[in-house]
Symmetry: C2
Subunit: 234 residues, 2 copies
């Protein structure tokens, strides 16, 4: 199955951009009449046929569309401090997209060594992952924002914070949330959130979360949360 | 906390090898009298004191030892087809070690593009992950073996195979196993197991497993299994 990402599709025909046209004709060597699939990132999954094979602009005719393709039964937003080594966050984005996530926000915390994030590059990782794992919904990657500013944003749903500071009230996700809800979960940087940051979140209504006894890297903790939420909504 | 991996520790003193001695003295700049921790990979977690800071052979005196440190309550063996891009398997090994795994076997299947694995390099990834995540048990990495030969090996416990071929009997891990058991789970290559390989496993008593609707990469499927088994044994 050959999948193209076509967020701007509106008609019953579509023209691939130059890069994808070249890929389609020169690399995949797909002739006129071949069927390909398109995803628009908003839940639309299309079956289309190649009607012209110009390597600079391949024209496609839409044969069929499925709306709300594999629509998710919950909403997961993970706000995570970007790792010093950006590969680790790119890896997290690829895996979270495969497993199922709706929204990601890089948050800049007191102990964040990395304070700058190139969203374009990270979005390319997500787009390639939705094509690879056949997802019609494109997870939303927000611009990096300071932790304090992020906490001021409204969110209607379960709000959790994962941290490693001893706290008698910490519970597992499975003890804190019900299925089919909206979830917002905060994951700290290498070195964890500061206790000031944790208290700030608790005062904003976030519930403290434990991921168990394992000392997990930032990206592993974030993926572990993604696993558990999807598991509970299976 | 500074952790060193000391699989050959036997006495109440220990001498770090040249590489780790140099790291200890030149990089970490730890003086005589400093306390460090050692893990032997067999469940021993040691507290030791530096008694000589020769950058070629640092001598340590063992102050305290905890046996069966964070002993696991189940046994997980994952046999996985190595990915064409070895980084993906290295990534899996690091993450599985963080989350908890006991044994890994690279299996060479009909559709495996990669048929050679450098166990030394992969073991270094595991060792660095146990130090980073403070694990006293070192997961066992077996040499790569052909799929057919692997299926002939004995295993007392739950045997499962994850595959993408339509099969009405496929169930989730949570429906197939109980906690606190021994589990052996097979994960196929990019392109999946062949139906011949799947049938071979079913005839050997493996139960067919589904990981849900998501199309997961090999290493994501393997980690997903690792997460679910640890979750069920939490």
């Amino acid at each position: 199955m050959h999948i193209f990402y076509t967020p701007d599709i509106t008609q019953n025909t579509y023209t691939l951009n130059e890069e994808e046209s070249k890929h389609c004709v020169r690399v995949l060597r797909l002739p006129i009449g071949s069927q390909v699939n398109l995803v628009d990132g908003k839940g639309g999954f299309y079956t289309a046929e190649i009607i012209s094979d110009n390597p600079k602009k391949v024209n496609l005719s839409i044969l069929q569309v499925q709306r709300e393709f594999h629509k998710r039964n919950h909403y997961l937003h993970i706000a995570v401090a970007p790792t010093k080594n950006i590969d680790r966050i790119e890896w997290f984005l690829e895996k979270a997209t495969e497993l199922g996530i709706d929204e990601i926000t890089p948050i800049i915390t007191d102990r964040s060594e990395r304070r700058i994030v190139k969203e374009d590059r990270l979005n390319k990782v997500i787009t390639s992952a939705i094509k690879q794992s056949i997802k019609a919904y494109h997870p939303k990657l927000n611009e990096a924002i300071s932790y304090d500013a992020f906490l001021k944003l409204p969110f209607e749903g379960d709000k959790l914070i994962a941290h490693c500071i001893d706290h008698e009230d910490k519970k597992y996700i499975s003890e804190l949330v019900a299925p089919h809800q909206k979830y917002l979960i905060l994951i700290g940087p290498e070195g964890d959130f500061t206790s000031k940051e944790v208290n700030l979140a608790l005062n904003k209504g976030y519930k403290p979360l434990t991921l168990g006894d394992n000392r997990l890297r930032t990206e592993t903790a974030a993926l572990s949360v993604c696993f558990e939420i999807n598991y509970l909504n299976r």
